[in-house]
Symmetry: C2
Subunit: 481 residues, 2 copies
């Protein structure tokens, strides 16, 4: 297999174009955040052409000036080629701000209560037309890029592009297509809440992939159950993760990713101003995640309070709530930040001023610095496709920090045995886990930390990329049966 | 099988004791509402002893004065014997107002968004202790009643009593036990939101039943999936609906109920004051259901507006939102009524004063009167164990009213083919269904109404009771394999 035969697509480019403040020339900058960087690293490893959406004005200018794409260097030193797609601006806005950031995000991450939300009307249907146009842009660009390839492999990344496999298949009846979904997949009763054409249309958009990958078995099971529920002519083999439909076979597979060694090695961990002094050498609990309600910091802060109040030995323990700003234009995210800050204020009023600090910025170095300094890490997501921090943090940490991990993180399927897994809605259980971790004897903590590092270490980006390529090779051989 | 061998339990007695206004003597009154009456009718058909919780002060007094239970006549003329259980009052309050009306109601009916609700703490665990005590009261009373029966059959009704089968099994290793759950069963990811001891403990409480019945295949599938997810030593055969665990077998079965002919025959349908005059002979849409957010009247009213605005032929159509007051001490229910009333006011401001009327009382006659008068019935529940109204209304209606039915009602599995099934969250689809139904030619409406009545008719209370007894007989024979 040569690099030229692989065609990679994801909505988000891990780079964005902006003028260099010195020269004024447009240049690519690495955008912060999890998935984008991971796919960028993947593109670097594979040496492939990568197609992604232009976002900013400068992205659009760079795309206009370089219609065949641009070669550029990642921070890691690896080079990737990126072609930025210029969608209709209004279409892209609706897809980015509504269809993916609100509608699908809530559908796949359990954001609706059903009694008061969601409600769909004609504006939802209009948004779906935008989503279809956006999907078509991607499929056409992939097909154009691969027009001369006799035997292309397609790697389609994440939930924004779930409709792409079907449109590729129309032109490329035999090509292996791997669709990887980075977020959770919900159960049938939840997925069904979407309007009928959407819930069925998106599944039909996915099924022409030869392999559909998720981070965890639970999301595979849910996806298979959704197909069984909503696609009458699909034959679903839940045991083997196979779907047969109209003469084609789709394999549904768990392909876990833990961390990118380059992301960790390429940065110098450091704490934000004042945090090192504030924390001193005392016990420090760290919660870390995007400004996204699934990250569940409000309940973590409240559980921390319960823990401290339940055990006198925990008096003096501090907590850092670290956030990366993300999609703050989404009301659910803005509301989440308000709720977390208000919980922090309440707990400080109760336990003593400055017991808990909230810190929000976009520096990966600060995230890694917090991981390193922590005496206990809390990743209690309400639901989470994987949660890479649960792998990264134990590898960076230098104080034998235990990890309180939500059972609803994909990561719990790999790391559950070496973390304290909790129900993310149960404050009593989380408080007990926090207290238990902080009061464990040093030798036990050290031994557990060693086992945790050993469990996390194998799950590198390179291994994950290899598992995708292996899946594509198996697809090419038609080796499902 | 003789009546003496059957022991029936449900939390709610369909009767409540109160002084007769004339004589001052305590006498039983039929309490309004769906499930309670249905189980009462069942008790009448079976001629069994029925054990239920005392609720009011007068219930407690009647129970004290009649420790062995009371024989009484139903409105139908059938006689039942009822023994009212005197739980600790505080325990009963916590179980009734919190564990069942809030916690389990939300868990089984998708009432949480996960991002902001639910949050469990030590008060949840204390409430679970009350639930265990309440469960024990029932098991002990059933065991005591059946102490002299060599070969008792146990019929345990509804979600409040899910823990009873396990406690019966401890004393009665071979008895057939049928547990019937009247409400939906959620998917594993939803059921998992409950605290670990609760989500596992309740499943373990249920599994010693020989048969577990639900109204719909979807709830059976979800229950089987919950067991597969959370009970590691259970072997789940999804195809055949069997669970093997620790040498015992539980069969999970769909046993649909449609309506009680007696409830319909025994009442004189009539409209509340002023409604007949207001509606005249013009087209009338009726939404009917308890004051419970699952009944989804707010979205029905908004869909009605969309329909009327979309089609000039619908100008002048009116809508009656009929409610039965239920558990208004639950904040979600009170909030639901506020939301519905506010939607009614908005739509009237838009379409013309008095286009939509809201009416709330406890008279079954008024419900039946609304069913009879309707030109279109809307049962668009967000989720619903069965929705008996979807069966009753077509049988009572005299104007060939079509039915817009939520696909998430259990009833949709029986009546989906003869109703307009809709996604309860999709206003555009519901508006189209409403407009399509109201503008259909008269001959087509009449023909469809005939098919609908024919589809609903077989699903009588008697047939449902028979299906339960047949299941218990099969259990006695150990005839699962």
């Amino acid at each position: 297999m040569t690099g030229q035969q692989i065609f990679l697509a994801s909505k988000r480019a891990a780079v964005t174009y902006a003028p260099d403040p010195d020269s004024g020339e447009l240049r690519p900058w690495l955008a912060p955040g999890g998935t984008g960087n991971v796919v960028a690293e993947q593109a670097g490893v594979l040496d492939v052409s990568w197609i992604a959406s232009a976002d900013t004005d400068d992205d659009h200018r760079a795309a206009r000036e370089n219609p065949e794409g641009l070669a550029l260097s990642l921070g890691s030193g690896r080079r990737i080629r990126v072609q930025l797609l210029r969608h209709d601006r209004k279409t892209f806005e609706v897809v980015q701000n509504f269809v993916t950031a609100e509608l699908l995000w809530a559908a796949n991450n359990h954001g609706w209560d059903s009694w008061t939300t969601p409600t769909f009307g004609s504006e939802t249907y209009r948004a779906l037309e935008c989503f279809d146009e956006f999907t078509r842009d991607f499929a056409e660009a992939l097909l154009k890029s691969s027009a001369d390839a006799p035997d292309p492999l397609y790697l389609v990344h994440d939930y924004q592009l779930v409709g792409v496999p079907q449109k590729l298949r129309e032109q490329r009846p035999d090509a292996p297509i791997l669709l990887f979904v980075h977020i959770p997949w919900p159960t049938p009763d939840y997925w069904r809440m979407l309007p009928k054409p959407m819930r069925v249309g998106l599944l039909e958009g996915m099924l022409p992939a030869t392999t559909i990958g998720f981070f965890a078995d639970r999301w595979c099971r849910n996806f298979l159950a959704c197909v069984a529920d909503l696609i009458p002519d699909a034959e679903v083999d839940r045991e083997r993760g196979l779907i047969r439909r109209r003469g084609a076979v789709t394999r549904v597979r768990t392909l876990p990713l833990g961390y990118s060694p380059l992301t960790i090695a390429g940065r110098t961990p450091g704490l934000p101003d004042g945090i090192a002094e504030w924390a001193g050498d005392g016990p420090l609990v760290v919660h870390s995640g995007r400004t996204d309600p699934i990250k569940n910091a409000e309940r973590a802060v409240r559980a921390f309070r319960l823990a401290v109040r339940s055990d006198a030995r925990l008096r003096g323990t501090r907590m850092l709530v670290r956030m990366n700003p993300n999609r703050l234009y989404v009301e659910a995210n803005a509301d989440y930040v308000r709720r977390v800050r208000s919980a922090v204020a309440e707990v400080n009023a109760d336990l003593g001023a400055d017991t808990v600090r909230w810190h929000c910025d976009n520096h990966v170095e600060h995230t890694l610095g917090s991981f390193r300094r922590a005496d206990l890490l809390v990743f209690n997501s309400t639901v989470d496709g994987q949660n890479l921090s649960a792998f990264e943090a134990p590898l960076v940490n230098e104080r034998d920090a235990d990890v309180v991990l939500s059972e609803m993180c994909g990561a719990a399927e790999v790391l559950g045995g070496v973390c304290r897994t909790v129900n993310p809605f149960d404050l009593a259980e989380q408080a007990e886990a926090i207290a238990g971790a902080l009061t464990a004897p040093a030798a036990q903590r050290a031994e557990a930390a060693g086992r945790r590092r050993a469990a996390a270490e194998p799950w590198t980006l390179e291994a994950w990329v290899r598992s995708q390529l292996d899946a594509l090779q198996a697809d090419r051989r038609g080796g499902h049966e």
